[in-house]
């Protein structure tokens, strides 16, 4: 089956270590793929390369088997695109912006656009310059979804949206996925990815450091454990236990981080009198931050290679 998105050695070098380097990525049709990374990591550069807006220094990108550069027009027939920052349309009203861009695209059902405006509670009668940031984002979403594309490429889609509209956006993504569309969305908000994505890629410093299914990523998660003792704290035994680190003792209370199996920790606690034990699962935010804190891109790349570098 032809991949919805396929990049091989895709690079864009802006100099001084900035840009995107040797991106090998595959997203399957019908998949919702989250592309995560902090500001300046290379998310928008990847998206612009996929959209044929900028030219790669090396490598290539394909969308449904079409070359993103040489067959850009055909690619865009299949794609709904939300840029990271929406264009200025000055004095045009929202309804005129939709009409103008729908005219350029051709074949857009005005009823579908009306339905989306209704769902997003977007007043298309206002002038673009009068729109708030959130309303501009809603207009951008409308423009991306209005032709029911086979692939949605969305750069930080919930930026500026209120919680109600975020929920509406998640429903729109679910519906698009149900009708078979592929969604590629970039974000630095992990909760958003947790809501809608099946697979995620983490990018840092222009390099892809991790690609995994959401549930695979959960396996990499650690637990933060807090133990309360009635008597001496077996700190040395806990520190020596395999898979346990970040051990801290405060009076009769011990906290530590456990990676993987709990058995070594429980063995270390065997002789102590435990009065309370709480284990907390970290959210993706903490996993994400741990990756960024601990892993150098090259080292993380090795980790990623061992887990999953392509579509599963």
């Amino acid at each position: 089956m032809t991949s919805a998105i396929r990049t091989s050695g895709l690079s864009k070098d802006y100099g001084s270590g900035r840009g995107l380097f040797e991106l090998d990525l595959e997203v399957q049709p019908g998949e919702v793929f989250g592309y995560l990374g902090p500001n300046g990591a290379g998310k928008t550069t990847t998206i612009r390369l996929l959209m044929g807006m900028i030219r790669p220094t090396a490598g290539r990108a394909e969308v449904f088997g079409l070359d993103a550069q040489d067959q850009a027009v055909e690619v865009k027939r299949l794609v709904g695109y939300l840029p990271g920052e929406l264009a200025q349309f000055g004095g045009l009203r929202g309804r005129e912006v939709v009409s103008y861009l729908a005219g350029l695209r051709g074949g857009v059902d005005p009823g579908r656009a009306t339905q989306l405006a209704d769902r997003l509670a977007l007043d298309l009668g206002q002038r673009f310059r009068e729109y708030s940031r959130g309303n501009k984002q809603k207009l951008g979403l409308l423009l991306a979804f209005m032709h029911d594309p086979r692939l949605l490429i969305l750069d930080e889609p919930t930026s500026g949206l209120d919680p109600l509209n975020q929920q509406e956006f998640y429903r729109m993504v679910d519906e698009a996925r149900e009708r078979g569309a592929t969604i590629f969305l970039s974000s630095h908000v992990l909760s958003e990815v947790e809501h809608v994505c099946q697979r995620i890629g983490i990018i840092r410093g222009g390099r892809l450091v991790q690609v995994a299914r959401l549930e695979d990523l959960h396996h990499l998660r650690f637990h933060t454990v807090e133990v309360e003792f009635a008597g001496p704290v077996p700190a040395d035994a806990v520190r020596a236990a395999p898979g346990v680190d970040d051990v801290a003792v405060d009076g009769e209370r011990l906290t530590c981080r456990v990676q993987g199996d709990f058995t070594p920790l429980l063995a270390a606690l065997e002789t102590a009198r435990v009065v309370n034990l709480v284990s907390r699962e970290p959210n993706l935010e903490e996993v994400f931050l741990t990756y960024y804190r601990d892993a150098e891109p090259s080292a993380a790349g090795v980790v990623a290679d061992g887990i999953d570098r392509g579509a599963q």
Binding site: T44, R48, M51, G52, M53, I54, R55, A72, V73, E74, K76, R77, V79, Y81, P83, E85, L86, A87, Q88, F89, G91, L92, R93, G94, R95, E96, V98, S99, Y100, L101, A102, G103, L104, R105, G106, P110, A113, T114, A117, D118, L122, D123, L124, G125, R129, L143
Partner: protein, 544 residues
């Protein structure tokens, strides 16, 4: 104080392009007039007296634009009339754009919130903006003064320094008064476009008041409230001219009082709002897409979006045509003048009205069309930098279409403007006893489109690589070209130098028909420029 100084630096930085353009323009406008005087007026007292008589005759026809000259037989008098008189028309336009851009443009871009959020007071902000403009205006007017000094000296004459300084003071007062008026207008509406429209309308009304006061005694007592009238009261640069101190002080008084009013209005109004706000209208929420078919038509959609501005240009084009025809109709007396007869003979005709139409209408219309084309290029650059191009190319449209549509919209809009002016000329000329060759008029109109496309092609080629410099470069090219075409022959500059001017390439089709070489060169510029733009568009990177 530190914040105020920081804001002052930012404001001065915002003026740097205007400083270069207006400073250069002011210098050359006055220098060229002064330096050209000797070549135009001759060297003997008799020649100069005859020249002054011709200028007086011409000036009486132009009295609604520029006041009558004082001692046009001297380089100082001639430069005051033509150099400073012309600058009096141009500088207020700059003041208008600077004042409406100073607050409203930055408000629309969200910069004002950032600055006010940094702890700078509203009064501090507007004081910094006004101070920056005063500093830049002083430099620009000084450049005009220096240009006049150098130009008059080049003609072998001298100018009374105190008189020149007094004239510069009056011009500076006018500039600051116009800035203050436009600044106040910007507080009364909520967008830059509306502010420019309102400020422009007020300034035009004040200009017309002065103009009517000059040509019709009934309006003269009302003209005293016009800053243009107050500026024209000073003629100190010309020998025998006078300096009107109260009028000059009144100009500075207007500038200060109106600026204070503008600052007060800015202090109390909402950001993004106007000083006077009507009751909010409940127009209901709209979820439907615009059914307007014009938005979906290639080329037409671009013109539709610019319809208000285009209408303004259209009105201007018609007004210019009507004005020039009425002027040409009253010029028959010039035929008896020996100097002008030579001029007509050089143009290949003895019909003065035809020459005036050919030179004035075609010349000024060509300049206006060039300015229009440059505004379109500036808009293309804005579209690219503000993400519009990215949104267009996110649709399944080939990149070449953007260039072709831009060229098409430019061709169509200039055809509309030039065509309207041409039709007005054709309709009004017979009533003034002017007999035109229809074919040549059509040629003049058609060549204006080619001229606009030439500027557009150069702009399209430049913005692909250097979007920010395209409009200033084209502006400089147009201004230098216009002056070269105007004064180059007087200085007997070589043909190759004169041919650099696009206006020279346009020629004088109403008078002398087609200048084939010019058409070929302009066509080559169009083909090469848009060709380069197409290649650049194919490979260029898009996105902010």
């Amino acid at each position: 104080m530190a914040r105020l100084l920081r804001m002052l630096r930012i404001a001065l930085r915002a003026h740097r392009t205007a400083l270069l353009v207006m400073g250069g323009l002011s210098f050359f406008a006055t220098y060229l007039q002064g330096a050209a005087f000797a070549a135009a007026a001759g060297h003997t007292a008799v020649e100069r007296a005859a020249f002054a008589q011709e200028i007086d005759s011409l000036a009486s026809q132009l009295a609604y634009l520029i006041p009558l000259p004082v001692r046009a037989d001297t380089a100082a008098g001639y430069t005051q009339w033509r150099g400073f008189g012309g600058m009096t028309l141009v500088l207020p336009i700059w003041a208008l754009l600077a004042a409406t851009g100073a607050i409203r443009n930055e408000e629309e871009r969200g910069l004002l919130e950032t600055w006010l959020g940094s702890g700078l007071s509203r009064i501090g902000l507007i004081v910094a903006r006004c101070l920056a403009f005063v500093m830049v205006a002083v430099v620009v007017v000084a450049m005009a003064g220096l240009g006049a000094l150098a130009g008059v000296a080049a003609s072998g004459e001298s100018v009374r320094l105190a008189g020149l300084l007094e004239l510069c003071l009056a011009v500076l007062g006018l500039l600051l008064a116009c800035y203050a008026i436009a600044l106040l207008a910007a507080q009364l509406v909520s967008t830059r476009r509306a502010a420019t429209g309102l400020g422009g309308a007020v300034l035009v009304a004040l200009f017309l008041l002065d103009s009517l006061g000059r040509i019709n005694g009934r309006f003269s007592r009302w003209a005293v409230v016009s800053p243009f009238h107050l500026r024209n009261m000073t003629t100190a640069m010309a020998p025998g001219g006078s300096f009107d101190l109260p009028a000059t002080l009144a100009l500075f008084g207007i500038a200060i009082v109106v600026s204070v009013l503008a600052a007060g209005a800015f202090r109390v109004r909402d950001l993004g709002g106007s000083l006077v706000q009507g009751q909010a209208r409940d127009r209901g929420v709209v979820h439907t897409v615009s059914p307007n078919p014009l938005l979906r038509l290639p080329v037409i959609s671009a013109l539709y979006e610019e319809r208000v501005g285009l209408l303004g240009w259209l009105v201007g084009s018609l007004a210019l045509a009507a004005l020039i025809v009425s002027l040409a109709g009253s010029m028959n007396g010039l035929l008896s003048n020996a100097s002008f007869q030579g001029y007509f003979a050089a143009a290949g005709t003895s019909d003065p009205t035809l020459v005036l139409l050919g030179v004035f209408w075609a010349g000024i219309a060509a300049l206006l069309i060039a300015v229009y084309a440059i505004t379109q290029v500036a808009q293309w650059a804005d579209e690219d930098s503000q993400g519009r191009l990215e949104m267009i190319l996110a649709q399944p449209v080939p990149r070449w279409r953007v260039v072709v549509e831009r060229a098409g919209a430019l061709a169509l809009s200039t055809a509309l403007l030039a065509g309207a002016g041409g039709l007005a000329i054709a309709a009004l000329a017979p009533g003034q006893g002017v007999h035109l060759d229809g074919g040549r008029l059509l040629l003049a109109v058609g060549l204006l489109v080619v001229l606009a496309l030439s500027y557009g092609a150069l702009g399209a080629a430049v913005i692909a690589r250097m979007p920010r410099v395209a409009a200033p470069v084209l502006g400089a090219l147009a201004v230098v070209g216009f002056f070269m075409d105007e004064v180059g022959p007087l200085f007997k500059w070589p043909n190759w130098a004169l041919d650099i001017s696009m206006f020279r390439l346009y020629g004088a089709p109403l008078v002398s028909g087609l200048f084939a070489t010019g058409l070929y060169v302009m066509t080559a510029i169009v083909v090469v420029g848009f060709g380069l733009a197409l290649v650049a568009m194919r490979t260029r990177e898009v996105g902010r």
